[in-house]
């Protein structure tokens, strides 16, 4: 079995996707990684794709779907014969609720079916922008769940539904949580980055109005 991981993040090796991939593949041997961020290497990557029979594709949610360069990569994949090969997707998003990622999750299943591949499942995770700053401990058991899902892939099994549910959390905010969120300083992370760059005063600028 040849196992290829597709890092579908425009941030490449500095991406949150790469961190998730490291959790999922830490017990896997002989994993080959390709990066969609290397746009000029997409054709080269197709040789690696063609040669493998199991894939893990991880991407962040960009304007409600996969990033543009990840879509370009998938268009190239569609042109080769992927029949009977199995695939797992991970969609992670800065938004907390999984509802934002569910539509592109449906597309991932559609893409698999259209290419006559085997769909082992899709992991949806919210709140991933915190990965830029948070230590592994911040994610609690989620890291272990990802590791266990990595084992599912190694065995060629369908992803454990209970783990998918635990990673995704509540589909939408409860009324109670909405109330709590009103009082939480959720702007803090962005404001600290703006201040660090000396751009805080310009944060609401409308340069093209």
């Amino acid at each position: 079995m040849k196992y290829v991981v597709v890092n579908g993040s425009p941030r490449g090796k500095k991406s949150n996707s790469d961190r998730i991939i490291s959790w999922m593949t830490q017990n896997s041997q002989e994993v080959q990684k390709v990066y969609v961020a290397d746009i000029k290497k997409h054709d080269e990557a197709m040789k690696v794709i063609l040669d493998a029979d199991r894939y893990l594709m991880v991407f962040p949610l960009y304007t409600d779907a996969m990033p543009g360069m990840t879509k370009a990569f998938m268009e190239k994949m569609q042109q080769i014969n992927l029949e009977e090969k199995s695939i797992v997707f991970v969609v992670h998003s800065g938004f907390s609720e999984p509802i934002h990622s569910r539509t592109v999750e449906r597309y991932c299943a559609y893409f698999t079916k259209a290419n006559k591949m085997k769909y082992l499942g899709c992991v949806v995770m919210g709140g991933s922008e915190a990965m830029q700053v948070a230590p592994n401990g911040y994610f609690g058991k989620k890291k272990d769940y990802f590791e266990a899902l990595g084992q599912n892939i190694m065995k060629g099994e369908l992803l454990d539904q209970a783990l998918l549910q635990k990673i995704a959390g509540a589909e939408r905010f409860s009324k109670f949580k909405i109330l709590i969120l009103r009082f939480l300083p959720t702007d803090m992370y962005w404001n600290s980055r703006l201040k660090k760059n000396g751009a805080y005063e310009k944060r609401l600028d409308k340069p093209y109005s």
């Binding site: 409600d64 779907a65 268009e75 994949m77 609720e97 980055r193 660090k196 600028d205 409308k206 109005s209």
Partner: protein, 184 residues
């Protein structure tokens, strides 16, 4: 009305639509101000996720390419129309590339709208959103539904008051677009 059209045609198969789209724009320009962006003919980089447009140069993309014109147009538009072929069951990568570059029109801050978290818009203008998928008679219902649902999600995130979704053939695309614009 200010109208922004994102034209995501990227393959020779759909090139025959270009002339009709240009004719449609000419007709609309009699009563409106239309900016059509044919992404494949432009120099537009893929969004690299650097968040410069949020935390370094608010509202301004790190790339000084033709994508800047798209943001400038969207900031003032009344109607944002996306015209795309369906490639591998989804809007084309050229279309998606342009969509990713809409990011500077939002603020990084999140607020709860209709029970969901969404970004706060940077500009005061709220534009309607439309998606027209080019139909060669080869679109399957499931793919169309997924693409329409993605545009519904996009409409929520970009605070569009109204969202329009349609499939159009070469024979009726001009009619589909002009009828929709006239109804607004």
């Amino acid at each position: 009305m200010n109208i922004t059209i994102i034209n995501g045609i990227q393959d020779t198969k759909h090139n025959k639509y270009q002339k009709t789209l240009e004719e449609t724009v000419t007709a609309l320009n009699k009563d409106h101000q239309v900016d059509m962006f044919t992404i494949d003919d432009m120099n537009v980089a893929y969004c690299c996720g650097c968040f410069s447009c949020w935390v370094k140069t608010p509202g301004i993309c790190i790339y000084k390419d033709d994508g800047v014109d798209i943001v400038r147009s969207i900031a003032k538009t009344d109607y944002l129309l996306i015209v795309s072929p369906v490639v591998a069951g989804f809007i084309s990568s050229s279309t998606k590339k342009a969509m990713d570059r809409f990011l500077p029109t939002l603020l990084p801050y999140i607020k709860i709208y209709d029970g969901e978290s969404h970004h706060v818009p940077r500009y005061d203008k709220r534009s309607n959103l439309g998606l027209v998928l080019l139909d060669e008679g080869d679109l399957d219902d499931e793919a169309v539904k997924i693409n329409f649902d993605i545009i519904d999600r996009l409409a929520k995130n970009f605070h569009a008051p109204k969202v329009f979704k349609a499939c159009a053939l070469l024979e009726n695309i001009k009619e589909v677009i002009t009828n929709e614009i006239c109804s607004c």
